[in-house]
Amino acid sequence: MTPLDQLLALSALTVVAVWLIGNRQVTGWNATILYAAQGVLLMMMSDLGYGEVQSIASSLTFKVLGHGLHWRFDGLSWFFALITIGAAFLASWFASGEWGQRYRAAGGSLRLFHVALALNVFSMLVLLASGDLLSLFIGWELVSWASFLIMALGSATATRYAMRYVTYAFAGAMAVLMALVMVYTRSGSFEFQDFRDAVPAMSSGSLWMIVILFVAGFGVKMALIPFHLWQAKAYAETPGPGAAFLGAISSRMGLFALVVVLVQLVGVERLADLQLVFPFFSARDLLSWLAVLTLIFATFTALRQHDARRLLAWHGIGQGGYMLLGVLIADDLGSAGGLMHVFNHATYQAVLFMTVTAVIHRTGTSDLNKLGGLVTRMPLSFVAMLIGIIGLAGLPPMNGFVSKWLLYRALIIDGSPLLFLGSVVGTLGTILSVYKLIHNTFLGQLRLEHVEVEEAPSSMIWPMMILSTIVFVTGYFPGLVLDWVASAQAAVGLPVLAHNLGGVPSHKGGLDMIWVVSVLLAGFGIGALVFFSGGRSKRVHQLDNYAGGHFLTAETRYQYSDNFYPGLMHLIGPWYRKSFRWLERGFVSTVDTLSQAMQGFYRVVHPSFYLLVAVVSALTWVVAR
C-alpha cells in the first residue's frame, strides 16, 4: 500500500464509519477525528508539497474496455487535497457541537450530513488523484453527485436548487465526456501523455471544440459565466458547515480540472495560438475575459444581495475568476497568484460562512436587513468576520492581499491593462459589498430582539479562530503557502515562482510581507498608544440613543441597513436584471416546446403526416440513387 492508497482507503473508511455510527451527536466528533487522521496521512506525503517527490502513485489500477485507469498524487493534487481535508476537518468540527444538536432536533439527520460530507471529501480526493482522462471524468462525476447529495439535504427549496445544479452539472459532465471522446479519437487513448503529444497535431477547429467543451463542463462547477446561475442559491441553502466546506473548496475542483486540462495538457501557449475570427483574440483571451466577467458580474450581484449566505456564495463565484485569470497568465507570478488564491480564498470563505452560520445559530436569520450591532454580543465572531472580509477584499495584512498582489503584478507585466482594470473593478465591488456584510451584521444599531444574544458556542468559535489565524499568519509569512504553490506550479509545468518566507524577492519589484505587516502593525500600535493614552470619551451603552439633541427610543430605527449604495444600484441595475436568466429560461422553454411537439407525435397528430414525410424522403433518396 502506497501512502496514497492509505489516504484513499481511510477516506472511504470514513464514509462507512460515519454511516455505521448513525444519526448521533458523537458522529461529528468521530468524523472530525477521522479527517484529522486523513490530514496526518496527507502530511506523510508532504514531500509532494515541498517538491521533493514528483508524484506518488496508487497501486490500484484497472483496465476496462482496454482503457487503463490509474491514480496518482502530484504537487498540485497535494495542495488541493490539503485544502480539502483542512476544510472538511474544520467544517466537521464546527458541525459537531451545538450546531449538530440543533440540526438533529430540527429533524435533520446527522448521519446523512456527515456521510455526505465524507463522501465529498472522498470523491474530491479521487478526482485530485486522477492519473488519466478517464479517471478524471470518473472523479468528476463522483464529485458532482456527492455535492448534489449535500446540497439536497436541506429544505424542499434546497432540493429544488440542487436539482438545478444537477441539471447543469450533468449537462456539463456530458460535455466533458464528449470532449474526452473527441480527444480519444485523436490521440488513441485516455492517457495524459498521449493527449499532450496529440495536441500539436490537432486542427485548430477541433482543439477549439475540445477546449470549449472542457470549459463548459468544468466551468459549470466553477460557476463560470454563463453557467453560474445554479451556484449561489444552492450553496446558500446548504446546511451551514456544508456551505462553508462547499464554498471553500468544492467549486475549486472545476479550477483543478481546468488547470490539468488547459495548462498541463493543452498548454497555455497553444491556447494563445488558437485564434478566433479576429487574429488578435485567442482562446486564452476568451477564457481570461470569461474569468474577468465572472468576477465583475458575480461581485456586483453579491452587492445586491441582502441575504448574508447568498452574498458570500456570489463572492465565491467571483473569486473563482481571479484564480482562473491568474492561471491563464501562466507566468510564475500570475499562476502563483491564482493558485495561492485557492488556498487564501478557502480560508476566508470558510471563516465567513462559519461566522454567518454562527450568527444564524444565535439569531435565527441571515437577512442583512434584520441584523445589526452584534459586535458587543458576539465579539469573537466579529473579529473572525473582520479578518475574513479583509482577506476577501484583498487588503494587507491578510493573505488575500498577497495573492492579489501577485496577480496584479503579473497582469501589469503581461501587458493586459483592460484585464487589470476589470480585476480592479471587481476588487472595488468586493470591498463595497464586504463592508455591507460586516456593517449590517455587526455594526450599527443593535436590534432589541437581539439584546439577549450570546457569543457563539466554543465548538464554532474554535474553527473560526483557527481559520482567522491562518488567514493572518499566511498573510504575514506567505512563503509558507508559496512553497506548496511552487511545487504545484512545477507539477503542471508552469514556471516556478522564486520566493522566500516573506513573499517574492525583489525581481521586477518584489514583495516582503514581513516588512509590510510589521510596519502596519507598528502603525496600529502607535495609533493604539495614542488612542489609549489620550483622554477617554464617555462610555455610552449601545442602546443609549441620544443623538443631536433628540431622545430616541431603542425601538426606533434611526439607522437603516437596507437599500445600500442606492446610487450605484440605480446605475448598474438595468444591466443586471434577468440578463442571464433569459438565457436559461429561453432554453427551458425551447425544450418545453419541443417536448410538447414530440408528445404530439406520440399521441395527437395523425400518423399520415409523418408517414408522408418518410415516404417522400425515401422516394427522393431512391430517385437520387
Binding site: 474496455l65 444537477v166 441539471t167
Partner: protein, 483 residues
C-alpha cells in the same frame, strides 16, 4: 446439443397442457409454469457452459439446411434465450383472476422469445415474431380495462402493419434468392441482395421488426401500452421483447444486409428515436409514460450503436442492450405501486425507502454515471461513434449526449421529489415485497456489474465478436450448395 429445441418445446408443451393440468390440480398448475422455466433456464445455462467459443446448429426434423429449419445457437442467441426464460420467471404474472390464462401466455412468451433468439430461418423468425406479438396482446389486455383494450387494439394495428411489411420484405428476399436460410442468404447476399431490392427488403423488415424494438416511426404504441398494461408485462416488453426484435435486426444486418445505406437508415431512425423519446419523456407527467418514453430513447441509442459497422458496433450495441435489459424491468417493477401522476410521488421515500434508493441507482446507471455499467456502455458507444470520422455518426454522439442530459433532468426531478416532505398529501403505498425483491435483485446485478466490469466487458466482447463473425455462422450451419 439437440436439447436446444427443448428451450422452445418444453414451455410450449406445458402451455398446451396447463388448462388440462389445472383440471386435475390447481396447485400443480400454479407451480408448473415457474418450475418449467426453471428447468429451461438450467438447460440454457448448461448449454452456455458447453458452448464456449463454438456455435451449434440444430437441423430440425433432421433435414439438412437450407431445406429444413435450422436453430442456430452462438453465445449471443443463447444469452437472449436465457434472458427470456429468466426474465419471464422474474416477471411471472401476479396472481389474479385470470392467472391460468396469463401463466399460459407467459409460458408461450418464454418459448417464443427463446425461439426468436435461436431461429436461423427468415420465415421462422417471422412466425416467432408474430407469436410474440399475439402473446403480448393477450398479456397487455389482461388488465381488462377499457383503456387497455383500446391501447391493445392500437398496438395490434401497428404491429400487424409492421409484420405485414416484414412479410413483404421476406417475399422480396425469397424472390431474389430463392432461399430463407440465413446462412445461405449470407452467402448469396453479395451477389443477389446488394441492390435496391435488397435495401427495400431490409427497410421493410427493419420497420416490421422495429415495431417491437420501439423504432422511431412505428413506436407510437409505446406510451399508451406501457401506461395501461400490467407493469410486469410492460417490464417484459420493454426489457426483453424489444431486445429480441433488435437481435433479429442485428442478425440480418450482420449476415445479410451489410450495405452502408442500411446502416445509415438505422442510424437516422435511431437518432430520431432518441430525440423524440427523450424530449417527450421530459414533459411526461405520469411515471409509466415517463419511463416508456425514456425506453424509446434508450432503444434509439441501441439502434445508433448497432449502426456502427463491424464488430465494434455489435459490441457497443450489445453492451447498451444488456444494460437496458437489467435496468428497464426493474424500473417497471418499481412502477407497480408508483404508477400514476408524478406529483403523487412526493415523499415516496418515506413509505418505500429501498424503492427510492433503487430508483436512484437505476437512474444513475441509465444516464451513465461512472462507475455503474451504464457509463461504460455509453462510453463504448460514444468512442466508437466518434471513431467513424463521419459527420452523421458524430451527430449521433451529440444526440446521445443531449439525450442523457435531458434524461438526467427528468429522472432526478422525480428522484428528488421522493424526499420532499409534503404535508398535504399522503405518499404512495409501499411496494409489494415480490416486486421489490425482484427489483433489488436486478439492482444488485447492476452493482455486481459495476464491480466485475473487467471480466464482464471481456465476456461481452467475446459474445459480440462471435456474433459479428459471419464465417462462423455460415460454416456452422453449413447449408448444402444447391444449383
Amino acid at each position: 446439443m439437440n436439447q436446444l429445441a427443448l428451450l422452445v418445446a418444453l414451455p410450449l408443451i406445458t402451455a398446451f397442457l396447463l388448462p388440462v393440468v389445472n383440471r386435475v390440480s390447481t396447485l400443480a398448475a400454479r407451480w408448473l409454469g415457474p418450475l418449467v422455466l426453471l428447468v429451461t433456464s438450467a438447460i440454457g445455462i448448461s448449454l452456455w457452459s458447453q458452448l464456449g467459443d463454438s456455435a451449434v446448429a440444430v437441423e430440425l426434423g433432421g433435414f439438412r439446411p437450407p431445406l429444413g429449419i435450422t436453430l442456430y445457437a452462438d453465445r449471443l442467441a443463447l444469452l437472449f434465450a436465457l434472458a427470456t426464460s429468466i426474465g419471464t420467471l422474474l416477471l411471472w404474472p401476479s396472481r389474479g383472476e385470470e392467472w391460468l390464462r396469463q401463466s399460459t401466455l407467459a409460458l408461450i412468451l418464454a418459448a417464443s422469445g427463446s425461439g426468436l433468439a435461436l431461429s436461423g430461418d427468415l420465415f421462422n423468425i417471422y412466425v416467432f415474431y408474430e407469436l410474440v406479438a399475439v402473446v403480448s396482446y393477450g398479456l397487455i389486455a389482461a388488465r381488462s380495462s377499457a383503456g387497455s383494450f383500446a391501447a391493445t387494439v392500437r398496438y395490434l394495428i401497428v404491429s400487424s402493419f409492421g409484420a405485414a411489411l416484414a412479410l413483404t420484405g421476406i417475399a422480396l428476399v425469397y424472390q431474389a434468392t430463392g432461399t430463407l436460410n440465413l446462412a445461405q442468404l449470407s452467402q448469396l447476399a453479395p451477389t443477389h441482395l446488394n441492390n435496391l431490392q435488397g435495401l427495400a427488403a431490409f427497410v421493410l423488415m427493419l420497420i416490421g421488426f422495429g415495431v417491437k424494438a420501439e423504432l422511431f416511426p412505428v413506436n407510437t404504441w409505446v406510451p399508451e401500452v406501457y401506461a395501461t398494461a400490467p407493469t410486469r408485462v410492460s417490464g417484459l416488453l420493454a426489457g426483453v421483447v424489444s431486445k429480441l426484435a433488435l437481435l433479429i435486426i442485428v442478425r440480418l444486418l450482420v449476415l445479410v444486409f451489410n450495405q452502408p445505406e442500411a446502416l445509415t437508415v438505422m442510424l437516422v431512425l435511431g437518432m430520431l428515436g432518441v430525440v423524440t423519446g427523450e424530449l417527450a419523456a421530459w414533459r411526461a407527467r405520469d411515471f409509466n409514460r415517463m419511463i416508456a418514453y425514456s425506453s424509446i430513447g434508450q432503444l434509439g441509442i441501441m439502434f445508433i450503436a448497432f449502426s456502427i459497422p463491424g464488430q465494434a458496433g455489435v459490441f457497443a450495441g450489445l453492451a447498451v442492450a444488456l444494460h437496458h435489459l437489467v435496468v428497464k424491468p426493474a424500473m417497471f417493477l418499481l412502477a407497480g405501486r408508483w404508477q400514476g401522476s408524478l406529483d403523487r410521488l412526493a415523499g415516496a421515500a418515506r413509505t418505500s425507502p429501498l424503492g427510492a434508493v433503487l430508483f436512484i441507482l437505476l437512474a444513475l446507471s441509465l444516464i451513465g454515471v461512472p462507475p455503474l455499467p451504464g457509463f461504460w456502455a455509453k462510453l463504448l458507444v460514444m468512442v466508437n461513434l466518434m471513431a467513424q470520422e463521419n459527420t452523421l455518426y458524430s451527430v449521433g454522439a451529440w444526440v446521445i449526449m443531449g439525450g442523457a442530459a435531458l434524461e438526467a433532468n427528468y429522472l432526478f426531478r422525480v428522484a428528488s421529489s421522493f424526499y420532499h416532505r409534503s404535508e398535504q398529501q399522503t405518499p404512495p403505498v409501499a411496494h409489494r415485497t415480490r416486486d421489490l425483491a425482484t427489483a433489488s435483485l436486478l439492482g444488485a446485478g447492476l452493482v455486481a456489474g459495476a464491480v466485475l466490469i473487467m471480466p464482464l466487458a471481456d465476456e461481452i466482447e467475446g459474445v459480440a465478436s462471435q456474433a459479428a463473425n459471419r464465417d462462423q455462422y455460415v460454416q456452422t450451419v453449413n447449408p448444402e450448395a444447391l444449383p
